[in-house]
Symmetry: C3
Subunit: 346 residues, 3 copies
């Protein structure tokens, strides 16, 4: 399908600078742009490519002032990344969606699904489940007994949702995600043995949660592990039992959150971050990648780094001197030597 | 089902302080306790809730001396966490268990299973397997050829056990666990290419091993990767080829153990710990979260932290000064200045 | 099957020292060697076992000069690890291979496969796929629409390959690997909400790529996430969207690479390493385990450690002093005290 710069600018409420009739039929990365494609510039690291890209149309921020001639026809918008997201969503919405129930899939008779269900090959739905409208369940998905699922969810291949968990509307779970496995709870029995503490709670995902592949979210010991509206979790993340993650918090890959920790809303955590259990993390807290959080963070908007973490500017100052430790030691050696000489001189 | 405080106290060999006839029909978290439920206080962080919880019965340690009036009826026991574990296990044991072989599952004819097998939808069991009694195999589990499985095991959805692995009695494997994938072994072939070293060993899990979701345990190059009795591994852990983990060792999520490392018994590792290969770790060693272990730890009961790790008290002292490095540098600057003045004065 | 030392030496182009007619029928680890087995010594950490092993034949490097008598018959080769790899590959090649299409598997009619396909129970192949010759697809594997697969690939149970991804020849994907899940892309929508950025690219694996269990590789936002020839990835690794990993690079378990980072060829990364997004890493760079890489590394062959990482020798010097910080502070205290005394004396 072809679109003119004019049509695109209208959809995005943007301004064209140049040929409004130029036509594109595909999108491209700025460094690989080809004639007949639309590209975008959002990350300033890629600015140099704006001048060399062969793409026919380039979406840029209104704040972008080119320093050289741009071959592509610019469409100026308030937020180029937002704009490309809107265009790609439009493109996706025009694709045919998978629907229908595969011959080789299984849904127990006691379960109910809404309209336009897609149930892929070898997918399994247990007893007494309630599934909303427009849900897409790919092959090899497991849904345990008594699970409740909202509308418009997508579960990619191999997602596993244990019994009694609750999934909101518009959730996307990627391949291999495990929701509701037992929390890691063991009571020391004798000096050396452990007794399993049955985990009788569940996991609740609210609306618009997206979870990356092979991430695991354990069920609560009692009550619920809760992922609030709009939370986005990347791949290979571990969320332990009874954790609560607040609205619109975003967590990068391979981070881990130990049991019963409560995280505020609109937080952002880098990759490979670790939080110990039973903490409270305020809203809008930011944690640098690979940091370790040993205690609660009470102040909204705190930004920390390190393992254990402390305020990021302080961490970075300390780390500069960590790198210089050999020269600091040399200076201490030198001071000691000079002081000794001075003492002898007197 | 309803239980009186009296019945519960008898089962737990605990002492009631108050109304022995009060009745509960469910359990609850202390901070969410409701009338008609039983709760418990084990972690001192939650002590404040003991005075406010609406639960009808609260299990507490005998050592707990309330500072205020408690609304709930206390049952005093030696170990409240143990006691709640026992109660929840009782509750679980009263639930009906899944049994039967799903129409859409497959077990090769050469394999044998004991009594009361549950084989879920789309589960697959390969050739020449031997499966014990009371084994529960959930949907989408894969069991390769020549696998031996003891009694009373539970394999949750999507567990994968490669050929020739051996699983003991009473083992629990959570969703997506991979047992017996190839160890990471490659021999440099030319300057830049690698030749795969076939991994012809297996994985052996002894009795009462529990493994969290999406954890992976690689098969030995030769011989066996061995997980001894009573080991508990959390989610997303990596155990490399030829590793041995000693009895009743507990490892938190996202830790990784490189090839051929041997870990003693009753160790405890925090989350995101890493151990390099070919080490020996003594019994009862404790490793703080996110630590890195570059060399063997010979002394039983050593407690370490850091990357690379050293004794935890020393690490924490060093880290205090790491945080103060900017002020230490200021003091060195000051010393240099004063010394220079002094030298000029003389 | 039995082999003489003579036959093995001929196959390996090695030299026998001793009884050329001695016979073995199996292989063993050096510390567990038994009569009638062949073992090897490659890692010098295991040298002591060379003198005590009960194995009948031992493969050693030509450079190895024994200090004591060796019971086993040595076969000397240029590279003992290479040699054992060759022997084990020979052994593997003699085993019967799985072939045939399981009754309970599904391949959409629009897809084509080459000769000698093995398609295991409950495996699913989507629309318009093209699969090469001698491909082995184990149970519960998911292959999405429009996927292209080369010759001689092995996909172990539960591998998931999303639509439009391209897999080269001789690739091995272990249990639970996810190829082509959506990259983690969200555009801030309002102050607190996020809009999904559809990920319309794919993942391309070139020839001879091996990927460990439960590793995840996200599809590109646009264009391709690319894993070049001969790359070996261990278990539980995260490769984000639009990453490129150069030829024959090897990455240990639980490492993570953020979006759009480009890694050179023949690099080696330890376990639990993290790289932030949009970096360029030169060829032959080595990164120590648990390190964090915050910026591009331009120089070929750089070796780094730390979080954030810097040259490994400098890191290790700094870390020595980090461990000594308490004594350095004592020395600063002492200097201040003495200087004060001196000032008073003058």
């Amino acid at each position: 399908m072809e679109f003119t710069a004019k049509a695109i600018a209208e959809f995005l409420k943007g301004e064209i600078e140049g040929d409004a009739e130029i036509v594109i039929s595909n999108v491209s990365k700025i460094e690989e742009g080809e004639k007949g494609t639309l590209t975008f510039l959002a990350n300033p690291k890629y600015t140099e490519y704006a001048y060399t890209t062969e793409a026919s149309i380039i979406i840029v921020n209104k704040s972008f002032v080119p320093k050289k001639k741009i071959k592509a026809t610019p469409i100026k918008v308030d937020d180029a990344y937002q704009a490309i997201a809107s265009l790609l969503q439009l493109r996706e919405s025009m694709k045919p969606k998978k629907v229908g129930i595969h011959t080789n899939s299984w849904i127990e008779e006691s379960s109910k699904a809404g309209k336009d269900l897609f149930l892929g090959a070898y997918a399994y739905v247990g007893e007494n489940c309630v599934i909303g409208d427009n849900v897409r369940i790919y092959p090899h998905v497991f849904i345990g007994d008594n699970v409740v699922i909202g509308d418009n969810c997508i579960f990619y291949p191999g997602v596993k949702i244990y019994h009694e968990c609750i999934i909101g509307n518009d959730c996307i779970l990627h391949g291999g995600v495990v929701i509701g496995s037992d929390g890691f709870g063991f009571a020391p029995d004798t000096a050396k043995d452990y007794k399993k503490v049955p985990q009788i709670g569940n996991v609740v995902l609210k609306d618009r949660v997206e979870i990356g592949s092979n991430t695991t979210i354990d069920r609560a010991m009692m009550g619920s592990t809760i992922i609030e509206e709009g939370v986005k979790l990347d791949n290979l993340i571990m969320v332990a039992h009874n954790v609560v993650i607040g609205e619109n918090t975003i967590i990068a890959a391979q981070s881990g959150i130990a049991g019963s920790t409560k995280i505020g809303r609109e937080c952002m955590f880098g990759g490979q971050v670790g939080l110990v259990g039973h903490l409270e993390i305020a809203d809008k807290v930011m944690i640098a990648a690979q940091s370790g959080i040993p205690s609660s963070i009470k102040k909204e908007g705190t930004v920390v780094q390190g393992a254990p973490a402390f305020p990021i500017m302080d961490y970075q100052k300390s780390y500069v001197y960590f790198r210089k430790l050999p020269s600091l030691v040399a200076r201490i050696n030198d001071l000691e030597k000079k002081l000794k000489e001075l003492e002898q001189d007197i």
